[in-house]
């Protein structure tokens, strides 16, 4: 039992944190979001570093690392709120790697790992993250099926959401069925989004903690008032709960696939709610400032709202969990 990252994983995390801190501070996020464009320079750099292919097998041009390592990167992506098509690209790659046919893997994975193509994945009929401009799109339907559309056969209608740090779109078009285990694809994608949400929570907590140590009211740092300090403690608790569930699910994806379905549902049930409430709490703890565009917490709140809905919200996940629980107590 060793419930912590390995030294290598810690190193990946540290490197990713440092890189994004220098390349994608909030000023850069703001600039890209307000301009309605993704951060191309950053995306190129991430591609050169091999981020899109971190969890793609080596035979398809990736690093062959696992969901834990991918989660580490996505957590840092959420922490930085960076404006790149990384999420959609890795989600599509995950789905094709684990839910595609051999032919689909060979056709798409090398170009997704290199970043030559970007990808997207979402629910059929829904709002799909990183769909605009994607070279390949995976659509999952509620009946448990999935299909794969080449970018040029997908009709993508760009959709402006409350989250301007990412491009979203609705997708129409036929495509071909995913040739493999679609459920595994969906579960892994869910865990990956949960990882981004954990990073979002962590950043919201840190921004808030720093702010309430500095900001004074009634001659006292507001972080000394229990109304604020207990709010921060609550934020930490929710963040840690989401983290535990998400790390477990990522580990299960790599090492205990029979527990992946439950892990994925737990991860999004925890991280979806945590993402929304922790970032809302961050706005509240910032007071009037938190309600302004100038403060950075709103980027986190907005992305958390989208993330929590992309692949079935927390309510959907709890219903799944209850079904699994019922099956267990019936056995």
């Amino acid at each position: 039992m060793h419930f912590d990252f390995t030294d290598d994983q810690h190193e990946i995390k540290r490197t990713a944190r440092d890189l994004l801190a220098s390349r994608s501070p909030f000023a850069r996020v703001r600039e890209a979001a307000e301009g309605g464009e993704r951060d191309e320079a950053l995306w190129r750099e991430l591609c050169e570093l091999g981020w899109p292919g971190i969890a793609v097998s080596e035979r398809h041009g990736g690093h062959g690392l696992g969901s834990v390592e991918l989660g580490v990167l996505l957590e840092e992506l959420g922490y930085a709120c960076a404006v790149t098509p990384l999420l959609g690209t890795v989600l599509a790659a995950l789905a094709i790697e684990h839910g595609g046919s051999d032919a689909q893997r060979e056709r798409w994975l090398p170009r997704l790992s290199s970043g030559e193509l970007t990808g997207a994945l979402g629910r059929a009929g829904g709002v799909v993250a990183d769909a605009p401009g994607a070279g390949v799109i995976v659509l999952l339907d509620d009946a448990g099926g999935g299909r794969l559309l080449a970018g040029d056969e997908a009709e993508v209608e760009a959709t402006v959401t409350i989250d301007p740090t990412r491009a979203y779109g609705r997708v129409a078009g036929g495509g071909e069925p995913l040739g493999g285990d679609v459920a595994a694809a969906r579960d892994r994608a869910t865990v990956a989004v949960a990882a981004e949400l954990v990073g979002i929570c962590q950043r919201a907590l840190e921004l808030t903690t720093a702010y309430v140590k500095e900001r004074r009211q009634f001659d006292t740092p507001i972080g000394a008032f229990q109304a604020i300090s207990h709010r921060c403690a609550e934020m930490l608790k929710q963040t840690e709960q989401a983290r535990s569930a998400t790390y477990f699910a990522a580990w299960a994806a790599d090492a205990a696939p029979e527990r992946l379905a439950e892990g994925a549902a737990m991860a999004m049930a925890a991280a979806g709610d945590a993402g929304r409430t922790v970032t809302a709490s961050a706005i509240q703890a910032h007071g009037g400032i938190g309600f302004t565009w100038e403060a950075d917490v709103h980027w986190l709140y907005k992305r958390a709202q989208l993330d929590a809905q992309l692949l079935g919200g927390p309510g959907h996940q709890r219903a799944q969990l209850a079904r699994m629980l019922a099956a267990r107590v019936a056995a």
Binding site: V160, T161, I162, Q217, D219, A227, A280
Partner: protein
């Protein structure tokens, strides 16, 4: 206990409803300036029907409406989908404050323009380092002959870019930032050099508020309200009026939003989902309870001059319910409710401010604890 309107109240409501039937504000236009013009047009239309300042005494051109009638006014406005009058700050805050504390001259000069909607107001209370803590205000007024010279900065100043007048509170005495005394309440002309207005963009992308930089603005001495050094008391009058009628307007909006979400959920067959029904049933009850609680506060105010314990919780109840409703809409409608430009997406963001502006929920809880429950302060 009688929860029906008496004949005077019913007559007032019926007259207003009839008037609102034929006098509509028209659709809300896009763009900030256009929206402001639209709301000021509406203000003047209301004034033309004697529906601006209904709670003002007859001698000042109002209808001398009772608290209940005033509540009915805002409820009906909300029910009709009409906006608040453009210069609600003048009608609700500046007017009553001038009536209580202003010189005869100021009242003569300013009250008619407020009613007519010809000289709108803004409110210069909050400062960057004095959010809920008025004692920490730093904006300074220095006497210079018959005038005062103002230096400082205000924030959360809505309508500053359109206002003719500003209710300004500034420090005229003791330098100690802990002191409530040493504050003075001024009526400041916004049409002068020495003022810079910078819009404050919200998380919705809109700019309802501004920062106001004051560098050597001048106010004649006879624009002091309530006497030099008495600003704290005068400000309390303004703040006490702040939530009086507004609550009824907001409460109706919430009621309409609950109904709207129920209709959208029903249209998608989602009201049959017991989880959705449970949360909507809860919000339905809470919306009604807010209205009922607000009316209990009104009765108490009419009987005792001030609301009872219930008066301090309606705004808090409303902000919580409005936020939960918006989140429920997202849960029910999915990402559709997160698409920019839709009503729910806007509400999801805008409602985050509801628990901050007009007294953060934290401050409201302090008030309940200290003033209603008599708990000690640290």
């Amino acid at each position: 206990m009688d929860l029906t309107f008496d004949e005077h109240e019913a007559a007032f409501r019926d007259e207003l409803r009839a008037w609102l039937e034929v006098n509509r504000p028209g659709p809300e236009p896009a763009g900030e300036d256009a929206r402001w013009a639209w709301r000021m047009d509406w203000h003047r239309r209301l004034a033309s029907g004697r529906w601006a300042g209904v709670h003002w005494p007859v001698e000042y051109g109002g209808r001398g409406a009772t608290y209940t009638q005033s509540a009915i006014f805002f409820e009906e406005l909300g029910r009709a989908g009409a906006p608040l009058p453009g210069d609600a700050l003048g009608l609700l805050l500046a007017g009553p404050t001038l009536m209580a504390w202003g010189s005869e001259e100021l009242r003569q000069r300013l009250l008619p323009t407020i009613l007519a909607g010809s000289e709108p107001w803004c409110q210069g209370f909050s400062e960057p380092d004095a959010g809920s803590d008025l004692a920490a205000l730093r904006t300074k007024a220095t006497r210079d002959g018959d005038e005062w010279v103002i230096e400082g900065q205000k924030v959360w100043t809505s309508n500053a870019q359109y206002a003719k007048w500003c209710m300004l509170i500034a420090r005229t005495g003791s330098d100690s930032p802990k002191k409530h005394h040493g504050l003075t309440y001024f009526v400041m002309d916004m049409e002068q050099p020495g003022l810079q207005i910078r819009p404050l963009r919200q998380i919705t992308g809109e700019s309802e508020f501004n920062e106001l930089f004051i560098e050597g603005a001048r106010v004649p001495h006879d624009h002091v309200v309530g006497g030099v050094g008495n600003g704290w008391k005068v400000t309390l009058t303004t703040l006490m009026n702040e939530r009086a009628g507004l609550g009824f307007f907001l409460q109706v909006r919430l009621r309409q939003q609950v109904d709207a979400l129920a209709a959208e959920a029903a249209a998608r067959g989602l009201l049959d989902d017991p989880r959705v029904a449970d949360r909507l049933g809860d919000l339905h009850m809470r919306a009604e309870a807010i209205r009922l609680t607000a009316y209990r506060g009104l009765t108490s105010t009419e009987k005792h001059g001030q609301p009872g314990p219930e008066g301090s919780v309606t705004k808090w109840m409303w902000s919580e319910a409005s936020q939960e409703l918006a989140q429920l809409a997202v849960d029910v409608l999915g990402p559709d409710a997160l698409v920019e430009g839709t009503a729910w997406a806007h509400e999801l963001l805008r409602s985050r401010g509801n628990s901050i502006e007009g007294g953060t929920t934290e401050v409201l809880k302090n008030i309940v604890a200290e003033r209603v429950l008599g708990l000690p302060r640290r």
